[in-house]
Symmetry: C2
Subunit: 239 residues, 2 copies
Amino acid sequence: MNRSFSIDSILARKPKRKIGEDRLIRVFLQSANLWRRFHSLGTEMIVTKSGRRMFPTLSVIIAGLDPVKNYVVMVDLECIELKRFRYSFHQSKWISTGPGESELPSRMFVHSDSPARGAHWMRSPVSFDKMKLTNNQLDNNGHIIVNSMHKYRPRVHVIEQDEAKTRHTFSFEETDFIAVTAYQNHRITSLKIESNPFAKGFRECEVQDMAHLQVPANFQSVLPFIFPYFANLTANAEQ
Amino acid sequence: MNRSFSIDSILARKPKRKIGEDRLIRVFLQSANLWRRFHSLGTEMIVTKSGRRMFPTLSVIIAGLDPVKNYVVMVDLECIELKRFRYSFHQSKWISTGPGESELPSRMFVHSDSPARGAHWMRSPVSFDKMKLTNNQLDNNGHIIVNSMHKYRPRVHVIEQDEAKTRHTFSFEETDFIAVTAYQNHRITSLKIESNPFAKGFRECEVQDMAHLQVPANFQSVLPFIFPYFANLTANAEQ
DNA sequence: ATTTTCGCACCTAGGTGCGAATCT
DNA sequence: AGATTCGCACCTAGGTGCGAAAAT
């Protein structure tokens, strides 16, 4: 059957979308499983004067950008509960202790690839591993300033570099964390040690069977190389 | 005395320069003294399959850019003598041995800050320390491909990101080098070891006076911690 | 005979939590 | 008492030339 359309109805149609218009930008969290393991325990992030990385690292996969348009990608921290927290070792949980610090707008961590075309951002996961948190309110190293014992949620911002500078913002509940100067929940400590390669030194290795170990035949010839080392240790200890 | 000008002579004058036009871009070599010490001996750069950094690092100070205009900064290598070289240990000098490989156009090392505004490039020295040289003609890590035993001169290119894409190219005689897979001139080796922090392990330290060193009092108590280590070494050696 | 490759010990540079000391 | 700081040992990650072995 043939269909006919009135001129009016045709003119009333929305214009076809132009390429690059009304795109649906999507952002997916990387390492979501690891984030969830921390989240279920109550994620803590160490914060220091000189700046400390986050672990897990915030890293996202971005889709739906215009490959040839330029974008700036950045992260900031939203203080998601305006109160101060304290960890009750007794109850093994965080309890709020009154209103928190008045929160200034968070600094932005601009990803160093910015600005770059959509094709670049979508080619591979975008990692914010260089981002550091500090509790130094006077920091001038460009680190993100937070208040210890407060709760934050990272936000990823994708800004189109045209006249409109349209901003798209994404965040993930799994990445909530409380800023601390020292870990409170020892389960968090354990999970960090277990999963962060840089903390491998604190992992409890499986105890090896050392029954077969013997003093090597050449041990005597090796001793002279050891003496200065220990002598040095002693000398230092005496200072 | 009054001077008069004919209408014609006034019309024949060049128009006044507009801001941002006909700028005199200048590029200065960093660490020029170090480069000259190598150059006077005949600089050699190690080249490997997996890629090797240059030392000294090519680093330049850029001046005369338009602060708000965008530029791309890149480096390539010009093969400056189309012949193959050989080091005569006898005469302690490089001698040419016939025509070299036919040289394909060099790959470009694009500085990772590109594109950026003139203000950014002029703010601090622009270092190409991430650039790596390879002799693998099939390299797909984006390293700069060179022929061993050939002579090169790095070129710095500054490209204006406008319609014209004007390219300005700079190079420095002090940065000439011969690509090698192993150092030929032992004076070059010595100067590399002396000046490259990563080669500190090969420096001849001043021999310390160890007369004061003695076996520490607690040496016996420490021994158990050493035994497994050496036993391990021996076990490995026997495998 | 000359040139290249490869594993290695030894570095630089910097990211971990620990625990004693200190601050508030 | 709770929160923070700081030096430290122990890691990751990767840039050095060495020297034996291999390739050409």
